[in-house]
């Protein structure tokens, strides 16, 4: 087996295009996961039995079914109900929804780590509910959960190749595609692997830094 540098340079643009898609899917998916997860966590604490039970059911259901099945559902089944999503949109929503069930647990832990006395002080001061959440509870809870959110973001980054199943050519997908066009996979797939590594390793260092700075243990 030989290594062909010329071929590597030739496939580089297509692979980088895939990297861009990976970024897009990760960033947008992560935003969905951050926001939706927070909404889940807050709704579960709403004190309204029906709502917290319903959210619990959704979270458990999504978490205990495979992401791949959810992607298939969003992309191939929803059109039957008149909702047609582009591959990337379906991918972002699927990834975001799936990871929202994990981030909601992370937020929940962060919220529970805020001392009970903070809630009681808010009651004693008659602070409105939104003010209590936005100015007192979340500003104390979120710094503590940043490392965990970071870890999930890295996981999402590494899970984007799954989107190939619904036709999104991410970093790995693009490498595979260009490889199969030329019947030669070594260079593009190696390149994709190296790119995943050089991006996710520094990211995990950043997470470790965040952990030391804000972690729950502190």
């Amino acid at each position: 087996m030989s290594w062909d540098w010329n071929y590597l340079w030739q496939v580089l643009p297509s692979v980088l295009e895939g990297l861009l898609v990976t970024f897009e899917a990760t960033v947008l998916g992560a935003l969905v996961a951050y926001v939706l997860g927070l909404i889940f966590a807050i709704l579960r604490r709403s004190g309204i039995w029906v709502i917290s039970r319903l959210v619990w059911l959704i979270v458990e259901f999504v978490r205990s079914t495979p992401l791949l099945v959810q992607l298939f559902f969003l992309f191939f089944v929803l059109p039957q109900f008149g909702v047609t999503l582009s591959p990337l949109t379906a991918g972002v929503l699927g990834l975001g929804l799936h990871y929202a069930t994990y981030t909601s647990e992370v937020y929940r832990a962060g919220i529970e780590a805020v001392p009970k006395g903070q809630w009681e002080a808010c009651v004693a001061l008659s602070l409105p509910r939104t003010r209590t959440w936005l100015r007192v509870i979340l500003p104390q809870a979120i710094p503590r959960v940043l490392p965990a959110l970071g870890n999930y973001t890295i996981s999402m980054f590494k899970e984007t190749p799954l989107l190939l199943a619904i036709g999104v050519l991410d970093l790995a997908g693009a490498a595979f595609e260009v490889g199969s066009l030329n019947f030669r996979y070594v260079e593009p797939l190696t390149l994709a692997g190296v790119l995943f590594l050089v991006l996710s390793y520094p990211a995990s260092l950043l997470v470790r830094f965040l952990e030391r700075r804000f972690g729950l243990a502190k």
Partner: protein
């Protein structure tokens, strides 16, 4: 100002208050003393609506705190009713419970601004005035973590007063403090007791303080008022043996 009528409070199977009755007059300073677990703190928490009664009712300032009128019946108060009702009541906690993500000034102005809609400038002027009263005018921009426990507690007192409550609840406010920091907090409380007409309910183990500032002292045991009397009477010639034992134990511990 405050009336407990047959108040029952249980935690699981444990009955903390079993049909408690008492009243507090407007402007009165009442100290609640007694062994731990006798229900003193529960009384304050019920008044602050941090707990719900399991029976009986509580009135504050002539209005019912625990129940509201629906049609011609009284039903347990809902959250919306409680939100309005608790505005007249302030509380200072054993653990201060200042907001660590806000500076001192912000801790004090937050509630007036957002639950009473006081304009920012007005809330800040009042906050600085209160900080002056508790002797911390120079700490407005400090963060709670930069303050000693005694300073934090004085900020917490200012924060509670910023809402202009009719009733102030003090829940063992010096218990978490190092002994040398207690005096400053008590001095501030004496001043408030002397200079305002706020009705104050104070759970404390500081017997000298209770004796100096209280209009009345209530001795609790097992969720009941064992005896109540003006401080001079209760601390010198209590009616009950149990009270004598308790006072001796507290004094010896110091």
């Amino acid at each position: 100002m405050i009336r407990f009528s047959g108040v029952v409070k249980k935690f699981g199977n444990h009955v903390v208050l079993d049909g408690l009755d008492f009243t507090v007059a407007p402007g009165e300073f009442v100290s609640l003393i007694g062994p731990s677990g006798s229900g003193k703190t529960t009384i304050l928490r019920l008044l602050m609506t941090l707990e719900k009664v399991d029976g009986g009712k509580i009135d504050v300032g002539g209005e019912c705190l625990t129940h509201m009128r629906r049609g011609d019946r009284m039903v347990p108060a809902d959250e919306k009713y409680l939100r309005a009702a608790r505005q007249r009541i302030g509380m200072v906690f054993q653990q201060f419970n200042l907001f660590p993500n806000m500076n001192v000034l912000r801790n004090i102005t937050e509630a007036p601004r957002y639950s009473r809609r006081v304009p920012a400038g007005e809330a800040e002027r009042r906050a600085r005035e209160l900080l002056g009263m508790v002797g911390l005018e120079d700490k407005a921009d400090a963060h709670p973590t930069q303050l000693s426990g005694g300073q934090q507690q004085r900020v917490a007192i200012a924060r509670a007063l910023a809402m202009d409550p009719d009733v102030l609840l003090l829940d063992e406010v010096t218990s978490a403090l190092d002994p040398e920091l207690v005096a400053d907090v008590l001095r501030v409380l004496r001043e408030i007791a002397a200079s305002t007409d706020i009705t104050i309910l104070c759970v404390t183990h500081e017997m000298q303080f209770a004796r100096d500032v209280s209009d009345r002292v209530m001795m609790f045991d097992h969720g009941r008022v064992l005896e109540e009397a003006p401080p001079e009477k209760l601390f010198t010639e209590p009616d009950h043996q149990r009270t004598k034992e308790f006072l001796r134990a507290v004094i010896e511990r110091r």
